[in-house]
């Protein structure tokens, strides 16, 4: 993306991963043997829609046989390295429940064994980060690493590391940027410790089961690692901080309240007589293109607010879009692929108020 500081046009990248067909997992998609999509190259995927199949292009498309290690190498390695250099980095996982998000991010669910070949992007990122820290640490350079883990559920923020706490507020500070006020931060010294913090919080997440899905998450989880490096060169101490955000989004079929839902109408019955969502409709009518300066009363969701830096700001971001290849999942896969394509267009506009009229004389 264009506003990354180094000027390389790539702040948001999209990785699509197709999971293998499910067998005996109790999911309603079990036994669905007909496929609705095929991977046609390492960056294209074809969806067998009617009447014409559609081809989507991304930064990378991984088929069913792709190993966890290669997902990590493509998606996260670079981001972890940039974090060491003071950039903020974010990795999102997006997709329908059952499409392999958790597997991609964490690995098999009962994972405690840190050396498992199937461990996901998150444990691998921890390992790599601490590998780099250990390599770079020296007398003149030291690192401090702390983690927080929050959940956004129903537009409320909860601390997964302190389940006793009430919902928390987002605040901003002129020096610190955006932060969740009062969120617990745990210092960690190794990948194993970081993983411990993660799994402790993970168990506190809100999941639900419906007749359609065995288990589906209704919340977004944001795991944040703050890395502080201190370097003294000739008595000058240089401190750099950066953040690595690992985000597991709610199952895409549940995101009824975000922009991902496309055209679904907001229902009045469920929101009673308040019709607050009318504002969302009006919001969409207010035209930005004609350059008028306007204010919109409704904020974006807490998630986009918290991750504003990651969405087209000053950070490196990768979105992993998980899709299920079964033809029963056609609708959801289509919307995931469309979302992923829109994500590539996200741009944070720095509208610069330059107006040379009257000055060039």
């Amino acid at each position: 993306l264009s506003l990354s500081r180094s000027g390389d046009s790539e702040s948001i990248k999209v990785f699509v991963r197709v999971r293998p067909l499910t067998q005996g997992t109790g999911l309603t998609t079990d036994g669905d043997q007909s496929l609705c999509l095929t991977v046609t190259s390492s960056n294209t995927i074809r969806l067998l829609s009617k009447p014409e199949p559609r081809t989507f292009t991304y930064d990378h498309v991984a088929d069913m046989d792709t190993s966890q290690d290669s997902v990590f190498s493509i998606v996260a390695k670079n981001i972890v390295e940039s974090c060491m250099n003071g950039y903020n980095g974010t990795i999102f996982a997006y997709g329908q429940t059952g499409s392999g998000k958790t597997f991609t991010m964490l690995g098999p669910s009962e994972l405690d064994n840190f050396t498992d070949e199937l461990r996901g992007v998150i444990p691998r990122s921890f390992e790599y980060l601490f590998f780099l820290i250990n390599r770079e640490s020296s007398k003149s350079k030291s690192f401090l690493c702390k983690c927080s883990f929050i959940e956004i559920y129903n537009e409320q923020i909860y601390d997964l590391l302190d389940t006793a706490s009430a919902s928390l507020f987002l605040r901003e500070n002129i020096k610190k940027g955006m932060f969740v006020e009062g969120a617990v931060e745990k210092f960690v010294n190794s990948a194993a410790e970081a993983y411990q913090v993660l799994s402790m919080g993970w168990r506190n997440r809100r999941v639900a089961s419906t007749s359609m899905n065995r288990e589906s998450s209704r919340s977004h989880a944001v795991f944040t690692m703050t890395l502080e490096s201190k370097e003294s060169v000739n008595d000058v101490v240089n401190i750099r901080t950066s953040q690595l955000n690992l985000v597991d989004l709610a199952g895409s079929e549940r995101q009824k309240d975000t922009h991902t839902e496309g055209s679904r109408l907001k229902e009045a019955s469920s929101i009673n007589r308040s019709l607050m969502c009318l504002g969302q409709v009006i919001m969409a009518l207010v035209d930005v293109s004609n350059g008028k300066n306007r204010h919109i009363c409704y904020r974006d969701s807490k998630l986009t607010f918290l991750l504003r830096d990651s969405l087209g700001g000053n950070a490196k971001t990768y979105i992993i879009a998980n899709v299920h290849p079964g033809s029963k999942c056609f609708g959801e896969s289509l919307s995931t692929l469309q979302f992923a394509q829109r994500a590539k267009l996200i741009k944070n506009k720095a509208i610069i108020n330059e107006d040379t009229q009257g000055n060039v004389r």
Partner: protein, 637 residues
Amino acid sequence: MAAVNTDEWRAVCDKFTNAQHLTDVESRNDPENDPFRSKYKARELLREIYCSLKSFEAGEGEEDSGAESADQRPTEQPVDGQKLDGFGQGFSGDSPAGLRAAKLGAVEYYLGVNHVDTEELSAGQEHLTNCMKLLERCRVSSENVSLFLHVRNQLGILWAGRDEMEQAQGYLETAESIYQHYMKEDGSPPTDMTEYFTTEENLLTHQERTKRFELAYTHTMYYLAQVYKNIGQTERAATYCQSTLQRQLQLNQFSPMEWALNAATLSQYYITKGKYMEGRHCLSAATVISGLAGEVPSEAAAQESETECERREQLRQKRAEIARCWIKYCLNLLQDAKKLLEDNIGELDTDRQEELTRQRRRDEEEEEKGRKSALLFGSEDTFDSIATVEERVLCLFPLDFTEARSVFLVGQNYVTQAKEYYQMDGYVTDHIEILQDHSALFRALAFFEEDMERRCKMHKRRVDMLEPICNDLNSQYYLLIRRQLMFELAETYSDMMDLKLTLANRQADTQSLDNHTIKKFNHLCSASAKYFQMFLDSLRSPEGKFPEHLEDDVLRPALVARFRVGRLQSRLISSSLSVQMENLSKSLEDYKYVVDYCETHPAAAHAVETELELSKEMVDLLPLKINRLKAKMAANN
């Protein structure tokens, strides 16, 4: 049909009540891991009711079932369009056959909604479609009109969810015309669907019936607003948003703060369309209605109880949001007036001003006419208060300083209000956005000020409010905002510099400027160049490298900044030939950069046409000037 008072019928009614309770009340307390438990239970009850109804029918209605099959039409998919055959033939609504159809239809309707709620859309569609088919055989009447409306609302939602907007639009527009037709032809308070399954002693009052029916129609309006938005008919969508709001107000079905925020947001739509009268009306209504939400709890009260604390937070935030919408109103009004009045060098065009002042009389009449024809908000209680708020600020373009100032002051007042909530500590981005608006208000007002000294002071105010923040902000998190501030500061210093020079030139020619003025001028000139340069430096990589290729978003600002730095360099006043020489050489480098960049990136040229043309001229001209200086220096030595 079973007699209304048999035990059997009572059992059906109880089941229905139970199902409603499960759906509306119990379901809210369902556990996280079994979110549809109550809805699944309700579904079972509805199915039982359906069976009971069917068996009643089989028991009694020999002659009816014959009629039913005779009436069977080819069952084409009932896609609503403009057809309104509900008003044509069919059973009359209050005939036994009509009533039975309506009852069965209602159960199908509730089953449909239940399936949709539990995310089984196709099954839901089937039930809703069955309901439509049953209704097809009936004429619209006060007994069933509510069901006619509800089922179409639901089908509209369902089809919109599948991205089939035309289908949705068809159902909803039919619902709209059914309502209007019914209100025109009949208008008596219609039976609510829930009453099909109540015993006589529990029938609703007329007032309650009307209320429910009107609410269903308000929802139709609301869904249509969304459909029109989705198919890109924004103006129509805005009209439907407006009617939804007005209906809520009239029928007293709203929560004040939400209503106010919606109206305030709608004002922003009108502002972007240049409709200031409508915008002002929405905002005034928002202000009045938000007042109905009550007083903001005091800080002390907030500390005592959590609910008071939350209420305080909510009210303060939402009122601040409305204030910010007002700021934008004032700002855009001033800026549009400025655009209308400025000549080709950005100064006030007095001929234009006179012409527009003459036109004003006509505009005022138009305003009166417009006000009468426009859709207005208000109930009997609020109408006058809204008009009073409207009177506090112009909705016609201000044409002179006095008028501009009155708009500015209203805007500034709202700036103060908004800042009370959006303080720097905690709300950095919002706070700065408000300051940027404040600065923009000053900038627009300065245009109308004839006294240059005072105009300069206005710009100084802008510098004072933005400069410290620009320097304090963390550039890692607020890079984009900082870039905006840098650019604005650079331009403000430039404006001040031009004003100073114009003022000085009135008294003397450039050659004989006094030292103090020169110092002042050079200071402003360097300050402006400094901020342009800061902006350019913000584009560098962490290793300090300037990008070889400028991204689209920063292309124009970057090239303009470089060009401006070049111009500012060459304008610095110095009596020392070597300093002059140095400044001109630097300036030449900047112009060269612009020219070279556009040569290697031809696509960039159209983004900076004027600047490029001038840069080319300067690249030709400056070497001559530099050579002349060189010769002069050599001669002096």
